[in-house]
Symmetry: C2
């Protein structure tokens, strides 16, 4: 890269940090990249750090010393998150979203890139300080949320399949009981998709009793991997809490009631905002 003026360097460094979240970049690497003194780089980083933190873009962690450097962690302030989730709740309460069987239509929202980026940032904030090697979800609707979170955290995603596809090689399958339908179902994961001892963040779009998430946790045990956290976009609160199979999870929104006659759902911010 050719030597840049400070103003241009600030633009380039900003985009570089944003494109490499949760990655330690040494001051030396930056100094070489921009052919500048480390002292100038440090001054630039101080400016970027102030803007990122004041405007709620994320944290810039600087590590001093020979092995030092800088790491950008995308973070969203809780007030900003709550404003966005309140809008989500309003949208989810639109009457035409209540489907036969008492399901809530939210597939369209899980396809909106801006909302996904926001939600990914919320999960990245909620789990920013936990050591995580991998994000796991089960097909299909949680996949976009898993990738949005992964993009913020710079962590790969594995997708548990509801069948055993030949194109994945040998796989581990387990049976689990879907909490809502009480039916026995199968989920499977390619043997090579997950290393032993991995610390795994589970992300899903919807959780009622938690049977599907519990299935993923059981599957992790088969791989000698551990659960680093569970994040769900919407939880259903319309069940007794003792029915719930797991207690330690983060939800961004909560479906508290659904009236099939009036086609009215009630959705409120989730437990992420009550702690």
């Amino acid at each position: 890269m050719k030597k840049l003026k400070r103003s241009s360097r600030l633009v380039e460094m900003t985009q570089y940090l944003l494109a490499h979240p949760h990655t330690l970049i040494s001051l030396t690497a930056f100094a070489e990249r921009y052919q500048s003194a480390k002292s100038s780089i440090s001054e630039d980083l101080a400016i970027i750090k102030e803007v990122f933190e004041e405007e709620g873009i994320g944290q810039l962690h600087t590590l001093a010393g020979a092995a030092g450097g800088v790491k950008f962690k995308p973070m969203m302030p809780k007030e900003t998150s709550l404003d966005i989730i309140k809008q989500v709740c309003e949208t989810l309460q639109q009457p035409d979203r209540v489907l036969p069987g008492g399901y809530l239509y939210m597939t369209d929202m899980l396809g909106q890139p801006e909302l996904l980026a926001d939600v990914g940032k919320m999960f990245a904030t909620a789990f920013a300080d936990r050591p995580i090697d991998l994000i796991m979800t089960v097909e299909t609707k949680g996949i976009s949320l898993a990738y949005a979170t992964a993009a913020c955290m710079n962590i790969p995603v594995v997708i548990v399949r509801r069948d055993n596809k030949v194109t994945e090689g040998s796989a581990v399958s387990i049976n689990y009981v879907s909490g809502s339908t009480k039916r026995i179902q199968t989920m499977s994961l390619a043997r090579r998709a997950l290393k032993e001892q991995s610390r795994v963040l589970i992300i899903d779009d919807f959780m009622k009793v938690g049977g599907t998430v519990q299935g993923m946790i059981d599957l992790l045990h088969e791989f000698n991997a551990t659960v680093a956290g569970v994040g769900v976009f919407v939880e259903s609160g319309a069940i007794e809490s003792e029915e719930r199979l797991l207690q330690d999870y983060v939800s961004l929104a909560k479906l508290t009631a659904i009236d099939l006659k009036t086609k009215q759902a009630e959705v409120v911010p989730g437990n992420y905002f009550s702690t």
Copy 2:
């Protein structure tokens, strides 16, 4: 937002533009956001434009006049793309990726956030000038690519299901013949997922004869929607070209041969690089 110094404003504007690709932002909005004169904003944008274009981050289109503003289009130069795809080809040629049945294991690569962001940017570049309302893929392995592309283009994603899930409401289903296996399969899309007349970009991970993509095109016709383009990550070139069901598509890599005995695959850059 409080009034910022120029250096801070450059950082903030850079992150704002990157977070809002393919979105027209008026100079007035920027001037108000930063409590600065439009002339200062224009100077800042000129600096950002120069860096973005010189460093291959994307294009900054400025529209003059009262309704004027600026639009950031993430773009990746072809040389950069080719370097990345050459590495992808090398990785895909690792012998342990050839699975029984002659399949190529690439699920792990489709879970890497950095590679996905790069590939998304390549598709966003390839289709930057076409009017597109929606990106479509079929579950499961193309989903991450579809979202990575959508994030660059600021376009929603719809996912075609291989079954008809009750949580989606009424759906349109079609039968199609998978070109490779010659089996009749079903795919379906929720009625409300796609508006009539939508211009749709189809993204998928792998294409051999093109049966699955052709199925998606047939499904689009059921919705009176049109195909704006087809992008596949890897195409299989190990078939006669007259067997291929469609000719107008962009591939980033091409599987030219697979030897089940030696477990050796040959993968080369796709047709995107030969035009």
